[in-house]
């Protein structure tokens, strides 16, 4: 029963987020600030993770294809498929549920604890729109981050393959181009967009409706990470079933 209460409140929150709009002049500044806090500040960690995970995928693939009948261009092929289909859209999103999600929950939660949300409400501000809408808009740029992740992951795989002597430049490039289905990119971006909405709204929900003091903020951040990850994995499974099978 509690799950339905949370679901109902979550969807009402989304409805209210698109209710009475904050003045554009103020909203614009908030959106730019959120883009900086949520997207720009994540470029470093996403780049680092993607580059090295791409490299590891390439090395793991090379080590496991010890049969001489299997061509080395499979290293490029596997790296591309792994990065585009799963690692960049799904696992970077789960990682972002930790980084961005915790930030969103704790920042809104702290505003709740210190009565800043009450202060906004007394003034007549639609707090849902003021606090959550800029985060949703900022996270619509999440596919941009995922594009960087895909590119750097594949580049990491290339560097690892060449440096480790697992594949030649031409073999890796051949693997990259082999059986390329442009729809997979489209599929990855659809997933990313849906994950971005989940990343903006679920942590906001946990921050907005949190109870208790400073300890409550910590608990809300943890709960928010768990539920955002769960929602991303479930959504991933549903989207994959719908689009790829």
């Amino acid at each position: 029963m509690k799950l339905f209460l949370h679901l109902g409140r979550y969807f009402l929150m989304i409805q209210k987020t698109f209710g009475k709009f904050t003045k554009w002049k103020m909203l614009k500044n908030l959106i730019f600030r959120e883009i900086d806090d949520l997207i720009i500040s994540s470029i470093g960690i996403v780049s680092f993770l993607s580059f090295f995970v791409g490299g590891v995928i390439a090395i793991q693939t090379a080590i496991n294809i010890d049969n001489p009948l299997l061509p080395t261009y499979l290293i490029g092929f596997t790296t591309r498929q792994s990065m585009i289909l799963e690692f960049s859209p799904t696992f970077i999103s789960v990682i972002m549920a930790g980084k961005v999600g915790s930030y969103i929950t704790s920042s809104i939660g702290t505003m709740r604890v210190t009565e800043q949300i009450d202060a906004l409400e007394v003034m007549g501000v639609n707090t849902y729109n003021y606090l959550i809408f800029p985060k949703i808009i900022a996270l619509t740029l999440f596919p941009f981050l995922i594009t960087i992740s895909m590119a750097l992951g594949i580049f990491g795989g290339y560097i690892a393959s060449i440096n480790g002597g697992f594949a030649s430049h031409s073999d890796f490039i051949e693997g990259l181009q082999l059986d390329f289905i442009p729809f997979h990119i489209f599929y990855a971006f659809i997933k990313t967009f849906i994950f971005a909405i989940l990343l903006a709204t679920i942590p906001s929900y946990h921050g907005y409706f949190m109870k208790g003091g400073a300890l409550g903020v910590g608990k809300a951040s943890t709960t928010s990470f768990i539920w955002t990850s769960v929602a991303i994995i479930i959504a991933n499974s549903l989207i994959t079933n719908l689009l790829l099978t």
Binding site: K20, T22, K23, K25, M26, T110, T114, E115, Q116, D118, A119, E121, V122, M123, G124, V125
Partner: protein, 257 residues
């Protein structure tokens, strides 16, 4: 003027406010006093519409809070200033930005005029050379002053203060109390203060309502509170030896006069 009638509010099985009625008068500092957990903050939040009441009526001048349309309620909100217990300043904004915020949000006035009005409010609460400071760089008393400046910058008709003295030293408490009273007179607004600070009660309580376990047990002025024989009030207000003596001296003086 704010009139409340038979306000009933419960959370689950526990009734927090039990049919409270009173009138908060214009141009006066109206105090709600009572022990921690007596329902003071819930009552203020109900009047502000932050918590929905189960029963009763809340009337601002001639308009009833729960019969208002969204537009009317939004307009009412702009007539309300609120000073929260922890000041509730926006962490990421400077003092000036905090005070400017309501005007920026709800008016289309030119920037110069907004800044000028904010500075008038900041000067009114005696804050000097602090415009560019962040809330984290301010003392408790200064934060309260900024919160008061933010609350009055839109020239509100109603000012609510939730324990404005909590966490402040006695001297700063008196300064904040006097500031609130001066502003109430100067702007001719209806001020409702939630407090359990006895100095505030004695100094600025032009109208006092006493809550106990969610019920209104007494209503009167700071003069009447010295004379009352109401057991609940005397137990609460004169719980310390110092205040018992003060009361004795006050009553003796009254008899001598």
């Amino acid at each position: 003027m704010i009139k409340i009638e038979n306000i009933l509010k419960s959370f689950g099985d526990s009734i927090i406010l039990k049919k409270i009625s009173t009138i908060f008068e214009k141009g006066k500092t109206n105090l709600i006093i009572g022990q921690s957990g007596s329902g003071k903050t819930v009552l203020i939040k109900c009047i502000l519409g932050l918590i929905k009441i189960d029963q009763g009526k809340i009337q601002f001048e001639k308009s009833f809070l729960y019969s208002m349309g969204q537009k009317e309620r939004a307009k009412l909100r702009q007539d309300i200033g609120m000073v929260f217990q922890g000041s509730a300043l926006f962490d990421s904004m400077t003092v000036e930005e905090n005070v400017i915020f309501p005007m920026k949000m709800f008016t289309n006035k030119p920037k110069d005029e907004i800044v000028e009005r904010a500075n008038i409010a900041i000067r009114r609460v005696n804050l000097i050379n602090s415009n560019n400071k962040l809330p984290s760089e301010l003392s408790g008393g200064m934060k309260k002053r900024v919160a008061i400046a933010r609350a009055i910058v839109m020239n509100p008709k109603y000012l609510f203060c939730d324990e404005p003295n909590s966490g402040l030293d006695p001297k700063t408490s008196i300064i904040i109390d006097n500031l609130i009273q001066e502003i109430t007179k100067e702007y001719n607004i209806t001020t409702v203060i939630n407090s359990h600070d006895m100095n505030s009660v004695m100094e600025i309580g032009e109208k006092i309502i006493f809550l106990e376990n969610g019920s209104k047990k007494w209503e009167g002025t700071n003069k009447e509170i010295f004379k009352t024989e109401n057991q609940s009030v005397t137990k609460f207000v004169y719980s310390s030896e110092l205040y018992k003596k003060i009361r004795k001296v006050y009553l003796n003086e009254q008899d001598n006069n």
